[in-house]
Each structure stands twice: as structure tokens, then as C-alpha cells.
Amino acid sequence: MTIIGLVIVLSMIIMMVLGPWVSPYDPTKSNVSPPPNPSPPNADFPLGTNLLGQDMLSRVLCGGTIMLQVALLSVLFCFIIGVPVGLLASYAGGIIDKIFTLVMDSFYAFPGLVLAIAIAAMMGRGVVNMALSIAVVYVPSYYRIVRSQVLTIKELPYTEAARATGARGRTILLRYILPNVIPSIVVVATVNFADAILTAAGLTFVGLGVGIDIPDWGWDLTKGRELLPSGAWWVITFPGIMIVLLALGFTLIGEGLSELLNPRLEQ
């Protein structure tokens, strides 16, 4: 499963890297095809064109970068915020743990996408802003995983044994607890990656993505939806398939990793 996921994700990344060189037309240039537009798939434009007369094949080849950047950044933000906060708060325990858990849990009260849209709308467009608004939605799940792991590991004999050898609190947290938490976080991160891609698509869909001049599957979805009633299925289908594939790839990696990193299934 991990292999299939890896193959999907890697080939997508290769495609995005090579996209600008192999795409037959400039994906940002309008009216590369003579009207009428959108035109269905044909010999010159294998995936058809959109309303602006842009080549869909070129846009599909180049359009994944924004989404991947947003997803990567948001996972990175989640990691940077969720893991240390979760570690420290739950290791400290008591009132600190209670306060942080309450705050984090309150994020769950909002539907994720709605919250991300609200935050993105507040902060304005841009890759970093999109990533941040997605991170806000997913930090609580990191916090929760880290917390539950810390609470378990904190009571395990090997942390007690470490304490009995004179280890400092800091050492126990960084050398004994953190390495045992990492596997679970990696799994959450990969699953979260897929979610982040879909949320990024959602943000672009409601017009909070980057500009129209940058090829992006999310934008093509938005525009394609408007064209769908007129029968132009190709504008929405191909970017849609790409988003689903990328999300699927990351989900498969996550599933595979969680099996791989489970020590009981090792060997």
C-alpha cells in the first residue's frame, strides 16, 4: 500500500517539476486555441480547453505545485506548533494541560473547512496564508495525538527507569518521550496531508486561492463548475482526478506507514 502511495505521489511530483518543460502550451496564456472555447478534447488539445482558451493538458501538468506547496507548508506549521505544545502541556500536566486541551478542543466545535475559509478570508490570498489557515484547523488533531501518547508514555516503566538513573525532565521529554511519539505523528501528518490538499482545493474553490494567472487545479475546478451545465465536462474532470489522486497517494502512504511503524507488526 505504501508503495502504491509512494508511486502516485512521486510521479505527481515529477510531473509538477517537469510540467513547465513538457507542457505543449503556456498554461497561463489565453486563447492558445482558436474559438469557440471551451472546446472538447481534440487532436491539438488532448484534454480540451477552458473558457479562456487555455490548454487544459498544460494546466493539469503545471497546476499541482500551488496545492502541494500549501499542503506541505500547512503540515509543517502543524508540526511546529502542535508537537511542542502538545509535548510540553501534557508533560507538565495539571492546570496547563487542562487549559490547552480546552482551547484545542474548542477548535473542533467548528467545521474544519468553514473555519479555514473564515481565517483565509481574514488573512487574504497567498500560499502562506492558505497554509496557515489550514494549519489552524489541523493543529488540534496533532495536539491530541501527541497528548494521548505522552500521557501513556509518561507512565511507562522506561520513563520511570530513566528518572531512576538521574535523567533530567528535559532529557526524559526529548530523548525518551519524543522519539516514541514521532511514529504516530508521522502517520497523522501523512493522512493530514491528504486533508490539507482537499482543504486547499476547497479554499481555491471559494475564491481564496492564488491568482488566476498561476495554473492551479483548484481554480480550474471553480471555473469548470460554472461550465459544467453547458456540457463542458473536461474542464472540471481532469484537475479533479489529479486532486483525488494526490490525496489518495498520501492517504495510502499514511495507512502503510501506520502499519510499518507499529512495533508489534515489525519483522
Binding site: P157, A161, R163, T165, G166, R168, E266
Partner: protein, 322 residues
């Protein structure tokens, strides 16, 4: 010059302050341990023996509190030390071997990393290579192939892991090792081997050893001294030969009678009737009287004092030679 005992515990009292009430896990226990001595600390679950062991490194788990007494190591009362000074004692002067070898090693750390962590906590000047070299020598001492230093804990069996834990305990040449039921999780043959290993390490390294166990039979033949605890109380303390030959407390006698003896084929194994008291509401007087066949009216109201019946043989009972 009189040499100080290695460990001197004086009227130690430890409470667990639970929501349902105060539990006195260790009640006014005193004893001393000389350098190189091997003490068996015997009692059933809930007798306070593990709590007593953990108090010596000041790691009684929450909500446990040491409410009274002194614990002196080489004459220094550790209850007055700062946390930082205490850390310097743990692992270096007093090492602890825990009960469950399966979970006492971090599953994501190689065996060598455990040693490096321990050695460099106490001797920060030592570099990693040197620490690993020392680790390999120590592993060799406990009968684990030194090459296996780069293996992970899950690649070892339970008995091997317990030997690794013992190696970790002796790595810094402590003066005292406290082993809390080190063999309970192991099968009988590995159990005997592990105990013999501990004993031979004590002989070669000259460290003192406190062996905490619920099984009197395994300490009788290996330890010099035996301390029996019951429901937080000091019950009996004596040389192990003396205790075997001449047990005075009814509880100790009961424990001895419940050890099978192959030479006396027709001997019936006797169990001590009843179960240990609820420490939230301990019985008045002697904690053992509800299960004691010798109990009289006095035992129910007054706690017996500790008396020295023979030289170095202390017992907490009203009866003399019951």
C-alpha cells in the same frame, strides 16, 4: 573509627494521599544496610515494600509523600538534598532495577544508546565511543554478547532484557542496587539464573543489594539479611539463616510454611488464612491480628513494639516464642 553504614533508614513513614483518604504505605520502618550486604525485602502486594524501595531514590509516585523519618546514604540525609543533588545519586550511587523487563527499555532506542544516555548523564566528559566501550564491557559481565549493542530491545528475550537492565544498573558501579521484583515477569529457570547473576555481580563488584520480592524462598538462600513487611509495618528482621531456623513472627512462620519442601513429601502446604487489610481502614493494634492464630485481646488494641529477641533478630510481636 566506626565506619558508617551505607544506608540507614530511620522511622520512615510514607503516605499516599488519595481522594478516598490517607494510606500509610510504609509505617515507621527502620533498618540499616552495611556496604556489600544483600538484603531481601519480603512482603505481599500492598505491604509497602516497593514504596520503601522507591523512597530510597526519592521517587515515590504521586500522590505518595514521605511524611516522616530519615534516609541516610553514607551519612547524608537524602531527604534534605535538592532535586539536582538527588539526580546525581540516582543511577550513580543507587541504581534501580524494575520489575518488567519488557517495558523498562525505550523501544526506539538501541541498547547502546541507553548506556550512553546513562553514562553521560553522570559523567558528561565521557565521549560516545568511550561510553559504548564501557557498555560493551558491562554487557559482557552479564553474559550478553557485546556486539549486540546496536540491537533494539525487541530483538532480545525477556531474560536477556532483564540482564541488560541489570547491566545498566551496574554500569556506573553504584554502591547500592535496588531490584524491585526483578524476576517476577520471567519463567522459573531464567528467574534463578537472573538472581544468581545478581548475586555473583554483588560478589565481584562489592555493591550492596536490596532484593524486593513477594517470594521468601528466593531470598532465603541468597541474601544475608531479610526484612519482612506486612501492611506497611516492619514485621521481622534477621539474618537469613536465623530467620529460616527461628522465625518468630506468626506471619513469617506462615510464609515459611507456604514454601513447598520436596524432602517432606507428606507435608501439607499451609496458606495464611484471610487477606491483607484495607489500608484505608487498617485494623487497630497489630495489623496482622485478624489473620493471626495467636492473637489475643492486647493485639487488637495496641501495636506491639519492636523487640530484639536474639542478637540482631528484631520482631514486632507481643508473643515471645509463640
Amino acid at each position: 573509627m566506626i565506619s558508617l553504614p551505607l544506608l540507614e533508614i530511620d522511622s520512615l513513614t510514607v503516605d499516599y494521599r488519595t481522594r478516598r483518604g490517607n494510606i500509610r504505605a510504609v509505617n515507621n520502618v527502620s533498618f540499616t544496610l552495611e556496604k556489600g550486604e544483600m538484603l531481601g525485602l519480603v512482603g505481599e502486594s500492598g505491604s509497602g515494600k516497593s514504596t520503601l524501595g522507591l523512597s530510597i531514590i526519592r521517587l515515590v509516585p504521586h500522590p505518595g509523600v514521605i511524611v516522616n523519618g530519615h534516609i541516610k546514604i553514607d551519612g547524608t540525609d537524602i531527604l534534605n538534598l535538592s532535586e539536582e543533588e538527588m539526580r546525581a545519586i540516582r543511577g550513580k550511587k543507587v541504581a534501580f532495577v524494575f520489575q518488567d523487563p519488557m517495558t523498562s527499555l525505550s523501544p526506539v532506542k538501541k541498547i547502546g544508546a541507553h548506556f550512553v544516555e546513562l553514562i553521560r548523564t553522570h559523567e558528561p566528559d565521557i565521549n560516545k565511543e568511550e561510553a559504548l566501550k564501557r557498555a560493551m564491557a558491562t554487557l559482557n559481565d552479564v553474559g550478553i554478547l557485546p556486539e549486540r549493542i546496536n540491537d533494539y530491545p525487541h530483538q532480545f528475550s525477556g531474560g536477556m532484557r532483564q540482564r541488560i537492565l541489570i547491566a545498566l544498573a551496574i554500569a556506573l558501579n553504584p554502591d547500592l542496587i535496588i531490584a524491585d521484583e526483578p524476576t517476577t515477569a520471567l519463567d522459573v529457570i531464567v528467574q534463578a539464573k537472573t538472581l544468581d547473576l545478581l548475586k555473583s555481580l554483588r560478589d565481584t563488584h562489592g555493591m550492596a543489594l536490596i532484593l524486593i520480592t513477594h517470594d521468601l524462598s528466593i531470598v532465603l538462600e541468597r541474601c544475608n539479611k531479610i526484612l519482612v513487611m506486612y501492611a506497611g509495618d516492619f514485621v521481622e528482621y534477621a539474618d537469613s539463616k536465623e530467620l529460616h531456623r527461628n522465625p518468630e513472627h506468626p506471619y513469617t512462620r506462615g510464609l515459611l510454611r507456604s514454601i513447598p519442601n520436596v524432602e517432606l513429601a507428606d507435608q501439607k502446604l499451609e496458606a495464611i488464612p484471610g487477606s491483607p487489610p484495607d489500608l484505608l481502614n487498617p485494623p487497630k493494634g497489630c495489623h496482622f491480628w485478624p489473620r493471626c492464630s495467636y492473637a489475643n485481646g492486647k493485639c487488637r488494641v495496641e501495636k506491639p513494639p519492636i523487640t530484639e529477641s536474639n542478637l540482631g533478630h528484631f520482631v514486632r510481636c507481643f508473643k515471645e516464642n509463640v
